[in-house]
Each structure stands twice: as structure tokens, then as C-alpha cells.
Symmetry: D2
Subunit: 284 residues, 4 copies
């Protein structure tokens, strides 16, 4: 039995759903999941589809070629096809904060996600032990103003060597440069410690405290060149009161950060996100 997953977006038109589902049927597939969305404001169609093929003659590459010719071409689709037995490879970037890293590693260790983590990259040596405890190679690449370019080249070398599919910034306290963003468009996941777009930039807990908000939040988003402005994948919030000082906000926020980041990672691994117009379609 083979299973494939299809992510599509294109200009909306009559008959797309029928065309796609009929194609799957002709290929002797059984659709086990279909979800679709039409953004009526700009007439764009989105679809996520999972299909199972029980016959032994199924060939992934043939399927891909025929879909491309018969369907994708006709409707001028942007599309992605994944064999569902492929485990994507994820790199984790960290600095000194360990709460997100431990959350990620314990989920990884428990087999919650269909993913591989070939390496952790950090600009500090502090979390090497954590990485070691979970048996994951840890690369300490210091970053200073002067060595930024060099460090980046080293990072890219590692990302390519390990054939990394996407990157998770688990409270990585450096700005990732254009070069890496271009190599991983909509494939770098960051966690920001506020309910964006409130409190963009540094020290959001200080800003939240100063403004006296009754709710704090965390936001996971794909990294784009404009800081903290990329497509939002997931957000969550927690109540706070006047009794919480900045230290309390930071503590409460850490719980939000790790849960929101892990949910975003899960959505990405399961190919449930499509990015369009700097926003996400989340099939869930």
C-alpha cells in the first residue's frame, strides 16, 4: 500500500475538485482525506488531499508525471506531492533558552512526529549536553558581528550536507539572513513571544507589562525578510493580571512558546500548511 499527499493552489474554476478526484479514482486510489478552501476575495482555490493506492502496480513517479500533465498543467496549479512515507529532515537552531528545545526533543524521543532531526545548531555551547542526552549531533557555531557571514556559510554547508528540509528556530536569538531565507522559503519556523502583531521586535514581555495587557501570547510564523511579519502558523494566549511582574510573564510565556512552536512544527511536518499572500491556509 502506498500513500500520497497532494497540496494544491491555483485560480479557482469550475470542475477542479471533480477533475482531481476523478484522476485519483482513475489511478485506482482511494481518497482518505480531502479538504479545500476558496479565498473568494481573490478567487484562489486551495486543496489538500491524501490518497491510498492498494494495487501493487502503483508507481510514484508515474503518478506524479501523469498528474502534472493531466491536471496540474490544465489548471496552472502550484502543487506539491509527497510520498507519505517520507520523513522530512528538520534542523533546530537554538541559543541559550532550553524550554523549547526540551519540548521538541521529548516529543521527538516519544515518537510523536514523523520527522528526523539530524542536527542542532547553536551560537552558544550551553545546550550541547541536552542534545547529547537525546543523541543528536550539536554544532556550536559562534556568531559575532564580524563572523556572521562565515558562520552563515558554515550553517548552510551543514544544512545541505544533512539534506535538511526545514529549519526550526527554537528561541534562536539571531536574525537569520536573507541568504538562508531564500534557500528555505516558508520552511523556517520561528517562535515569537507575543501575540503578533502586538509587540513586534525585542523584549515583548517588557512591552506587554508596560501596556498592562490582561492577556499575553506567543506566535509561530514562517520567517520572511521583514522581521516578525511572516505568515502566522499558530498562536495561543494566556491570562495575566496586575500581580504578574515581568519575570512571571516570561515564565508563563515560556509555556506558551513551547506549546505554540510544537503545534506549528506538527502542522508543518504533516504538510497541513499552504502559504499564500503572506498568510497560511491550515488544513486540520
Amino acid at each position: 500500500m502506498e500513500k500520497v499527499m497532494l497540496l494544491i493552489h491555483c485560480k479557482d474554476a469550475t470542475g477542479i475538485i471533480a477533475a482531481v478526484t476523478n484522476f485519483i479514482y482513475q489511478q485506482k486510489g482511494n481518497i482518505v482525506y480531502i479538504d479545500q478552501h476558496v479565498d473568494s476575495e481573490n478567487g484562489t482555490f486551495f486543496m489538500r488531499l491524501e490518497s491510498v493506492f492498494e494495487h501493487t502496480s502503483f508507481a510514484y513517479s508515474t503518478f506524479k508525471k501523469e498528474f502534472s500533465e493531466a491536471i496540474a498543467g490544465t489548471y496552472e496549479m502550484e502543487w506539491q506531492l509527497f510520498p507519505s512515507d517520507y520523513k522530512p529532515k528538520m534542523a533546530v537552531f537554538v541559543s541559550k533558552y532550553d524550554h523549547c528545545l526540551y519540548d521538541i526533543l521529548s516529543r521527538y524521543n516519544a515518537g510523536e512526529w514523523e520527522v528526523e532531526i539530524p542536527l542542532i545548531i547553536s551560537n552558544h555551547p550551553d545546550l550541547a549536553t541536552a542534545a547529547k542526552n537525546f543523541g543528536i549531533p550539536y554544532y556550536h557555531i559562534p556568531v559575532t558581528k564580524e563572523t556572521k557571514g562565515e558562520a552563515e556559510a558554515l550553517q548552510i554547508e551543514l544544512l545541505q550536507k544533512f539534506e535538511i528540509d526545514f529549519i526550526v528556530l527554537a528561541r534562536y536569538m539571531q536574525i537569520v539572513s536573507e541568504k538562508i531565507i531564500d534557500l528555505y522559503p516558508n520552511r523556517i519556523i520561528n517562535i515569537h513571544h507575543s501575540f503578533l502583531p502586538a509587540f513586534v521586535g525585542a523584549k515583548p514581555y517588557h512591552s506587554a507589562y508596560k501596556r498592562g495587557v490582561k492577556i499575553i501570547g506567543a506566535t509561530s510564523h514562517y520567517v520572511t525578510e521583514e522581521l516578525d511579519a511572516g505568515p502566522i502558523i499558530e498562536q495561543d494566549v494566556a491570562r495575566v493580571t496586575h500581580t504578574h511582574d515581568i519575570k512571571d510573564l516570561v515564565m508563563k510565556g515560556k509555556d506558551l512558546e513551547k506549546i505554540v512552536l510544537s503545534r506549528a512544527i506538527k502542522l508543518h511536518i504533516e504538510r497541513k500548511t499552504i502559504v499564500y499572500n503572506n498568510k497560511t491556509i491550515i488544513f486540520s
Copy 2:
């Protein structure tokens, strides 16, 4: 332009989605919404589909007949078809509490729902003014142990006279009898003031207070013969602390009750619910 909505469930099989979507395509419809679910435990397939027909030759009854023959018969479907311009007719049953009623009437008044409310039925006269203020006929049908059968006959007469499609029990403090439930299977919506199945029966706030829970809830469900055990449509909760006494729980609960009931009503009006195995599939 005509629009139809289709709700289906049947035994899962290969090709159902293709068959249905292809049928819509052949009828020159454009699918604007499709969602599906497979309960893999018992191999049941569920689908909700909205389709638009722009051609003038579309005939609802022809479509219905052809779908029945070509598709529904083949797959032994249980199915419902609705012309989307049909506004269902909803009866509201109340007693003395007015918070759910006001919430319903102000939404109705604001045009939030595609529904008609031809009448309100109550076993008390108290809320007649509220009904009058919103211009809705109010029928006071007292219910005592002795007159229960008689009252019920009167209720059924009114429900039939006004061609009521479904009933909302907006804190109606009487148990609805088997006869009415049989006439309106999965079409009587109740609001229960606890997060069922905790605290079934009467006085749930008292039980919640006694147990010292930190969260209270409300549950909207379809009424079945077993009390408080029908398929759950919607639930929500609120935090409470040791500082809240029973009166406070009641007050907080009222806010939950009205929001949860109104959400359930909205889902029902928009035909987003399918009941199966005493549970609901909620397409949203």
C-alpha cells in the same frame, strides 16, 4: 443562480468522492465547499458539500431525483439535500430564565441567522413581554403533572401548524416527552448547564460547587430519550476559583449557556451537523 447543500453518510468505499464530485460536475455545478470524514473505526463515510448552479436550466427536483438514482442508490447513502435559499423554521421553548432567549432574539433581530422564528412556547407567562418586544407570537401553555399530555398535544398542534423544522429548548425546565422527540429526531437542541457528562441531571452548579472543580461548562446537545445523554453539538467552559459561590457559578454559567446554545443553533441552521452513533460530525 441556485445553490444546494448535500449531507451524506454511508459505508466507506473507494470512489465515493469522485462519484459525487463528478456527478456535480456533470450537472454543471461548481463545488464551493466540500468536507469529508471517515470514521475508520466503523468504516463510515461522511460528506458535506455545497454547490452552485449558474445555468438557468437547473431544476432542484430533477437534480434530487437524478442524484438519488445515480449516486445515493449505488452507495446506499443516507442523505439530505437542501436548497440553500430555504430558511428553516425554529420554535423556541422557554420557562422563566430569559438570558438565552434574549441572546437568541437579539441575534435574530440583527439578522445573524438564516432562520425564521414563528413562535415561542412557554409553560410560564413571564417572558411574554420579551417576545412581544421582538414581535414574535408567544404561546403560554402551562404544564402540570395532570395536564402534561394535554399540553403536549397543544404543543404538537402548534409545531405542525407553523411547520416547525426544529426546536430549541432555551432553558425550558420541563422534560420533553418521547412523542415530540420521535417527531423531531436530532432536531431538538437543548442547553445543559455543565460540561457533560459531568453533573448530569438537575442542579449541576450545586454539584460543581460541592466537588470544587476549577472549571465549569455548558453543553448543547440534541435531545434523546435518555436524559442529558444525546449527541453533543457544542461545549465551552470557564474558569472558577474558590472565591465563587453557587450564585457566582450560576451567573458565570449563564454567559456560557447562551453562547454555547447560540453556537449550536448556528451550526444546525447552517446544516453543519450530522448525527451518527449518538455523536455529531460537525463540519465547520
Copy 3:
């Protein structure tokens, strides 16, 4: 039996709590509620205290005078004292949206709040019927660019005639001017349809849609001269997805707006708020 409520803030110092509680004890009062907060960043002390006096010789004015001399003077307190049988008088300002108004009026009608609503003021005639249904005088005072000053004078005249204690802007679509704000410092409650400080200003739902947030919110705050920047009393949020268009956000937001505004009104009526440094201390 008499009951008084005391709200205090002053420079923090050793012995304040003992001094206040001892004073109450000497006055033969029984403290039924005490809560305190110290803002350690700027060394400010806050307290809310409720006390019951069972002896017949208790005199409110004497108590007030003695507290002022014995305690408040010593610690240079800013303080407010309320006889707890006093029902504050609240004016409601509306425009055309009725959801907050209905929520307020149905709570008022149900006796949820210890408050009086002597009048509703609107720049439109639309909601006169709603007011009439609940038996509350409705003053239609149109506001145009030219008549703004005149309209305001008329509003102030009414507020003073009815001895209004505080004002609720229940989606009142006009900016309240400095003059009224000065007359009612920290006593004008507004509801803003976003989780401030995100999306200040007009059309927050449009901005939220455009940014693709996964959570929308509403914020109730005291009105200050800087728009949407006053002390936040209460906030709440709701989840949204890519399937919600702007109309859906508006609909979901209406539910948030009314619940958040009503919670803020309740806190204000129960004298549970102190404003300091443009933030609120909420005793709950």
C-alpha cells in the same frame, strides 16, 4: 448593618496593612474582604477592603472623617470610600450596533448588576425602540462636524442632570472629547474590537484578516485622551482560521465585544478597579 468599601493606593511602607485593619477593628467593623498588591517596581501599595458594621451607632460620615485623619493623612493615601448600598448611575452611549446594548440591557433587566441606568444617549435614532422596550429614556443627539461642540454641551447637561457616575461607550462610533474625559477621568469605559495594542484605530477586523492572525480579540479600557491607549480593564480572545472572512470575524468579534464589555462594567460597578500609571489593578 452597614457595609463600606475602601480603595487605597499610596507609597508602600511598613505597617500600612496593620494600621488599616486595626482601624477597622477599633471601629468595631468586621473585614469581610481584603486584598492588596504592591507594585515593587515603583514601591506603590494598593488595597481593597470591605467591612461590615453591625452596631447601630455606626455613622458613615464619622467613619470617613476619622479614617481620613487617622490613616489616610498619615500615609498620604489616595483613597475612595463607598457605602456599599449606593447604586452607581451609568449612562450608555450607542450608535447603531445593538449587540452590546442588548447584552447590557438584558443583564440590567435580570438584576445582574447593582447599578442604575437613567439614560441612553445616541447619535442615531435607530436603537430608540430597544431602549423603550426596557423602559429607559433615550436621547437622540445627532453629531456632525459642525454641531460637535453643541452636541457635547447637551450630553454634559444630561450627564449632570441625571448625576451620572460613569459612562459606557457601547460601540459608540464617535470620539469622546477632552471635556467629557476630564469630567469623567477613569470613568468612561470603552470597548475596542481588537486585542489591543494590536490593531489600534478603525477597522481592526480588516487589519486582523489581512495579517492572517489565528486569534482575534476585544479589549475594554478606560478612555483617555490618547486614542485606544487607556488603561485596559479586560480582554478576551477567540480562535479564527483561514476559513473565516471579514464578515465572520465581525460576527465572532461581536460575541467577544459584548462579553468583554459586560465583564468590565461589572468590575467597575463592584469597585474592583484602581487605575495607576495608565494600568489597572483588578481585585477579583
Copy 4:
């Protein structure tokens, strides 16, 4: 500077707050936190108070003796006094599930809590590595029907040897017997994977799935002899839909379990809980 924390409950009476606060003042203490609650139903008074003593002559034992005589005796209080520099000792019991353990250990490692964890006890060897990675002794004490008494004696020996103050059952899949409960009254914290009192007993996720609830929960409570019926410390919930099968509920539930358990542990460590009438007062 010394700091003490006082937890009190007793029959409610006039002047208690003044008596206590005045006592602290006479001892030259500065109250930095006071919170109180009166359960008016049964006339019980509860108080939590933190006080700082800056003078060098302060003696904890003298303070304790004098409070006992001057105040606690007079009002027949049940009370607890803690020097705030005392770090309580916490034992963690686990079986095979590691999600709660990792959450606890990473918080411990990050210094989030003022606590010591001298040992982990388990009826399985599986989590020994996790314990070792965080440098905490791990005692594998197998439990079978036949060896239960023996195992328990061993557990008690360890608890006493390490002077354990309280126990955390981090998904420990054995019923703790009366003997240990008697040694640690209201000092054994359990996590149950449902919003109690719904779905008591084993397999709550299966029951939740079968009932078709739209919300699942987790509950942390003190262990009493009646299973799943002890005083609730903290609860939280998460939304689920018809698309979630039992495996999904388990996964979502794990996130709830760890956060709810960790919040309960924090409250207990910070001495913010009082148990009374099988319910908790939570000062926060």
C-alpha cells in the same frame, strides 16, 4: 532579611485579620502579601500571608512560639508556618510515560521552582536514562500483586530516608495505598487525564471518544483514599472534534497533563494551597 509564610484556617470571627496583621507589625515585620477568603456557607476563615523581617534580632522559633500563643491559640487556628528559604523535597513516581517527567525535569533544570528532587521512584526501568540525564537518583521498585506490600515498605523507607515533603505521581500507573496516603495527607499530587468528575477511573480518553465530547481535560488533585475524588488543585481543557480519534485524544491530552500537573506542583511548592472539606483554596 528573613521571610516567613503563614497559612491559616479557623472559624470566622471579628478581628482576626486585625489581630494577625497587628501581631506581624509588633514583631516589626512588613507584610508583603496578604490574601484571605471566608467560606460563608460554613463560616470558615482562610488566610495566606507573607512577611519580611529586616531586623537582625528576628528569630524564627521565637516568632513561631509567640504566634502560637498570642494568636493561633486564641482563634483555635489550624496553621502552617514556613521559613521561605526552605526548599521542600519532592519525590516523583513514574511508570513508563515520560511526557510529564520531562516537563518536570526541564523546569527543575531551568530553576523554575524552589524545590529539590532527591529521587525518582518507578515500577519500571524504562525512564532510568531520563533520570540519569538530569542527574537524579532513580529507584526501580517493581510492583506485582504479590510484592505490593514489600514494594511499598521500600518506597516508604526511601521517602523517609530522603526526608521527602511531598510526592508527585507523574502518570504513575499504580494505586497508592492507604499507608502512604496517611503519611502524606494532602501532599500527594496526582494527574488524571480527564476533566474530573467526568470519566473517573481508567481509560478516560476512550470514554471521552465514545461520548463524543467536544472538549477534553486534565485534572491535578491531591490523592485521597477514594479514587479520583480528592481535592482538585488545577484543571485545564482543550477542544477536540470528530476528526480526532482516540490516539489523537491521547496526544492532545498529554500536553494538557503535563501543563496541568506542573501548574499544580508550582502552587504546592509556593504554599498557595489549603485543603478544606475536600476542596482547595488556591491563593494566587
